[in-house]
Every structure is written in structure tokens, then in C-alpha cells.
């Protein structure tokens, strides 16, 4: 536990994270940066969009605190900031856990219903089926 390591003002909050993640190009940029830092030029290369368009996406990602700039003045490499992403997925995880618990219980309820169904069917054709 490192409560002091969390700075609420550092990024744009969860809303900004989700907004930034809503765009497929931005998700692709993040996926690329997950493999290591890259310059704007390198980031624009695989995409069928202009460099200014990539810069615009990067601005959104930077505002959300998902991407930061490296020190190299020439390349200005962008790098992935993992913390806001981890938070966003943490909330999705909570949501998932809630429903996974529900659905595991639903599995059990369905099993009971299935055996009740079989019992009802049995007296009619005992031994003929199943």
C-alpha cells in the first residue's frame, strides 16, 4: 500500500481516462506506447492519419494523464503513464466482480432448475431417455 503515491490532481480523473479510451486510434497509440516510448513521427507512421491528427489525439491522452513527454528536446518521445489506466481497469474490475458473483449464483440456480425439469420429465418415459 502506498496511499501517498496516488495524486488525484495528476491526471484528468476517471472521466478523462474513459473519454481518452473511447477512441480506437487513441487506444492503438496506447498499445504502441505500451511497447516502449516513441516520437510523434514514429507514432503517426502506422496510422492512416496526418501527423497533426496524431498530435491532437496525443493532446487528449496527455490531458488525461495517460501519456507524458520525455526529456529529449529533439524527439520529444511520448511514453505511457500506467497509473490512470490501472485505475480505470480497477473500476471495471469491481463491476465485473459484482456480476461474476451474481452469475456464478445464477449458474447454480440454473442447475437446480435443470434437475427439476428432468425430474418432471422422468415419470412419463422412465428409462426411455437419458
Amino acid at each position: 500500500m502506498q496511499p501517498s503515491g496516488y495524486e488525484p490532481e495528476a491526471g484528468g480523473g476517471l472521466d478523462a481516462t474513459f473519454a481518452a479510451l473511447a477512441d480506437p486510434t487513441r487506444r492503438a497509440i496506447l498499445a504502441r506506447l505500451a511497447a516502449g516510448e516513441a516520437s510523434v513521427l514514429e507514432l503517426a507512421e502506422p496510422f492512416d492519419v496526418t501527423q497533426p491528427a496524431i498530435s491532437k489525439h496525443l493532446k487528449v491522452l496527455e490531458r488525461a494523464g495517460l501519456v507524458s513527454r520525455g526529456r529529449d528536446a529533439q524527439r520529444r518521445p511520448r511514453r505511457l503513464e500506467a497509473q490512470p489506466l490501472a485505475e480505470a481497469s480497477q473500476w471495471l474490475e469491481d463491476y465485473r466482480r459484482h456480476w461474476e458473483a451474481n452469475f456464478r449464483r445464477l449458474d447454480a440456480v440454473l442447475e437446480t432448475m435443470k434437475s427439476a425439469d428432468k425430474k418432471r420429465a422422468r415419470p412419463k418415459r422412465q428409462g426411455a431417455r437419458r
Partner: protein
């Protein structure tokens, strides 16, 4: 647990959350388990420690539903809504609201059966992106019972990774 039974959760747009899960039962039974109070009160309990003393379902278009959950320490929460479309055993559209300060969502359940197994898809449509993100933040029932203050505290205890 097999991979096929894994719960998928997606956010295909700014205002939606979509859950998909496969059940090893025909959809007739899944429909029954999802729409009859005797079954719902057994499984729709969220995190450990909650029971569901009130589970009222008036299953017809325009009919209302009302769920109340209770924890051993006395904490309670409730949720209500109205059915818009009722098409057994494949489609159910309903509204859902936690309370006056919460946004109303429109939930669409579809059940598709293949070889005796049922794929359940629940689409939750929020009135706005902010509403959806807020709901995701509170982690549904667990968080709805938790005040925003307690949520903030929890945020601070999250181990940064």
C-alpha cells in the same frame, strides 16, 4: 469454470456498458431465472453478505419492479424500474433507477440459445457519459451503498501499479 463461461464487459460507446455471459442451460430457464422473484432473490445479490428481502416483479409492458437488498448490519439499498418490452424467452427491456439522485438507465436483455446453451447479453444505456462513468466508479451495488467519501478513501488505498 471454463473460458466459455467468462463474463465479457465492454464499453462500445460513451453511454453504454455491455455484459455478455454464456450459461449452460436453455434460454427458457435463463429467462425464468431472470424474471421470477423466487429465483432472482437467490442470485442477484451482488457482493457477499447481502440478502434480498424484497423482490417484486410485475412482468408486463408498463409493469414495475422493485428490489431491496439488506446487509446484516442493517444497511439497505433499493432499486426500481419499469418494464418496457417483455418478449419471452428472448428479449426484455426495462428501466432501472437506484434513487432520486441516480440517473435512470435503460437495460436491454437478449437471450440467444445454441445447442442447449444460452448467450446472455445485457446492454445498459446511460443518459450521459458522466452518468455511466459515475456508475462504473461505484461498482454497482457495492459502491451504491458506499458514500462518495468512502469511495475517495478507497481510491487512496489502491496500490499503484
Amino acid at each position: 469454470m471454463t473460458n466459455a463461461a467468462a463474463l465479457q464487459i465492454a464499453t462500445p460507446s460513451d453511454v453504454e456498458v455491455v455484459m455478455t455471459r454464456v450459461f449452460d442451460a436453455p434460454r427458457r430457464l435463463v429467462w425464468q431465472a431472470w424474471t421470477s422473484p423466487e429465483h432472482v432473490s437467490q442470485w442477484m445479490l451482488g457482493p457477499e453478505g447481502w440478502s434480498m428481502p424484497v423482490c417484486e416483479i410485475d412482468l408486463r409492458p408498463g409493469g414495475s419492479w422493485h428490489f431491496v437488498w439488506r446487509k446484516a448490519n442493517g444497511a439497505e439499498m433499493e432499486m426500481r424500474g419499469t418494464y418496457r418490452e417483455v418478449a419471452p424467452p428472448e428479449r426484455l427491456v426495462s428501466t432501472e433507477k437506484w434513487g432520486p439522485e441516480w440517473p435512470e438507465t435503460v437495460n436491454t436483455l437478449t437471450l440467444a440459445e445454441l445447442d442447449g446453451r444460452t448467450t446472455l447479453t445485457q446492454t445498459i444505456l446511460y443518459p450521459s457519459k458522466q452518468a455511466r462513468d459515475a456508475a462504473l466508479k461505484t461498482g454497482m451495488a457495492d459502491g451504491a451503498a458506499t458514500s462518495m467519501d468512502r469511495l475517495e478513501k478507497r481510491l487512496h488505498t489502491l496500490t499503484p501499479r
